[in-house]
Symmetry: C2
Subunit: 354 residues, 2 copies
């Protein structure tokens, strides 16, 4: 694509990040934003320039509840351009565009599966989309050229294009993104009235389970409200399970109560085993070693340098918080074949592990 | 304490780990287990010895539903010893011991807040309790000597003793441990019937929210069933919130629906802000930098060595899975004062960040 081929409408987190990613490829995007301050910040960051040329591709990166309207506006403003958007829910926007835009063959919905807990151009990162899925959701009207153009854009900035229908996409994100958000928020809401001495016993389990509850309520309200028809049935099923548990715990001595609780826990283990592992593969049973380090610059590096020198690849790694203690516990996950060798070498070289 | 002062009954994960921790301090524990295989394995690991001396302290580390019975047995077997246990729920066991044991002044319940997803002596680690809370739950009958002896044990192996009543403890763990477990399992249970193409879009949010759902259902059934009176009301409150959400999503156009969803999301952000941060302090607003590394031995180490050399302390660190790409994204969390310097130095030295 030519330097002037892409126009980004909306220079928040996603729009500015996209501009930065394109700039790294030597492609200066044309930026526009209704907020002059945001636009200026994005330009100063190097996400593109304010120009008025004829774009080949317009990427609409405005908040979800403005997206359809701006897509329709851009289709009419640039009669030769392909127009896409990046909203997290696709069907409602697609329906609005198909019913109101004249030339909907040039519209192609898409959703880069990337974000941060903070929004705005100041939070933008050129690598936001790197190695993340970029879902492309063609309608029956979308031209092949439109699909190809967004696929090229995704590949250009290192994202992984995946084509599916808007309905499929919305069903998928209801399960893997919207339901977890609601569950995390509902769990975290219970902490509001918890006593401080109780919360002091919080371990990594609660931390992980509730982490995404710190996301922006205003943005999530827009996202969730556009996917209510997919979210409602999932919530109903979840509520039924919670109700079953509630009854079982209220009447624990009744026959069948323990079986109900056990069955739910079992279903959880089966469900989680279906989440794909690292690099798209199935979860491999990594082995975990926990090493103690002191909480100072370089101590984690020293550990990992040592592991690197033995030639062991770290598949995953977690730093554990240690309430009240100035040390860190590092959980190192390695393939089972490497675990014994690693444990032996670490111990022999004075690292504190078991 | 003398070398022969501590007896550990039950050489599973907790008992064996305790023996290993004591052994590191030069304190050889007296081990016992109804499974000869487990006992032998624990002894071979160096967790202690099979002796028949008179202990000063007996630590009962058997499964939760056997704990009360074994505590009572040990109190009668060793009429001069303090007896403690390590079960995750305290009130039910305390009530049983107080009503059935003759000399309950020598019983003191406790709960080291540590564990792993796998059980058994083979999963044991000497540092399992290091820097973790060890809750001590005296009854009205418990002697001061009993409390002091468990406190000394905790301090000896690097754990953090916290004294509270059994009722307080059970209320606390219902909120910070048992409810998150049930929520994670219920969420993960929904994945059982999810389509593979949908699950392929799973990001870090769902992974974190559901992680603990992979814990052992049989063990958790025992834990949860001993704390039903504390869990049931929390589940009821959670179910009410889910029901409210369900109705709001089913009738999104009705007045008040959006406000209900927004309010729940807001409550979640307030709740999560109450979780204490690293080292027992409140959450500090760390700044996050994401760096791209290749997925080979030593590449993470090279990054962290570099960061250590600049003198920047890493407060937290996450390795992100990158479906379909042979690279890793490392999220480095540092104090805001260090963020700019770190970003500058990384970029100048060829690291890929934003």
């Amino acid at each position: 694509m030519n330097q002037d081929a892409i126009k980004i409408v909306g220079t928040g987190l996603i729009g500015t990040s996209l501009g930065l990613a394109l700039a790294k490829k030597g492609n200066v995007a044309q930026l526009s934003d209704s907020s002059k301050a945001n636009l200026r910040l994005a330009i100063e960051y190097g996400a593109g320039e304010e120009q008025h040329l004829d774009p080949k591709l317009v990427v609409v990166c405005v908040p979800p509840d403005l997206t359809a309207e701006v897509v329709i506006e851009q289709l009419s403003l640039h009669p030769n351009a392909i127009v896409t958007d990046v909203a997290s829910v696709k069907s409602e926007i697609q329906t609005a565009v198909l019913s109101q835009a004249k030339d909907s063959a040039r519209y192609i919905g898409s959703h880069p599966m990337a974000g941060r807990e903070k929004g705005g151009p100041a939070s933008a990162r050129a690598d936001l989309f790197f190695a993340r899925p970029w879902v492309i959701t063609p309608s029956n009207s979308s031209s092949e050229a439109a699909v190809a153009m967004v696929r090229d854009l995704a590949i250009q900035i290192g994202a992984l294009p995946i084509v599916m229908s808007a309905e499929e996409h919305d069903k998928a994100v209801a399960l893997v993104s919207h339901l977890p958000q609601l569950v995390a928020s509902t769990l975290a809401a219970r902490l509001e009235s918890g006593e401080e001495s109780h919360l002091n016993l919080t371990g990594q389990g609660l931390r992980d389970t509730s982490r995404i509850a710190s996301s922006d309520p205003a943005l999530w309200l827009q996202i969730l409200s556009q996917n209510s028809s997919e979210i409602a049935p999932l919530l109903s099923e979840l509520r039924k399970d919670i109700e079953q548990l509630e009854k079982a715990f209220q009447n624990l001595s009744e026959t069948g109560s323990l079986a109900k609780i056990h069955s739910l826990l079992e279903r959880g283990t089966r469900g989680i085993s279906r989440i794909p592992g690292k690099h798209g593969g199935k979860l491999v049973g990594y082995q975990q070693l926990t090493v103690v380090i002191d909480d100072s610059p370089g101590s984690l590096a020293a550990l990992l340098t040592f592991i690197g020198e033995i030639g062991v690849n770290i598949e995953d790694l977690k730093l554990e918080h240690s309430p009240g203690a100035p040390i860190g516990l590092v959980e190192v996950f390695v393939v089972p074949e490497s675990a014994e060798k690693l444990a032996k070498q670490l111990t022999e070289n004075g690292w504190r592990i078991v």
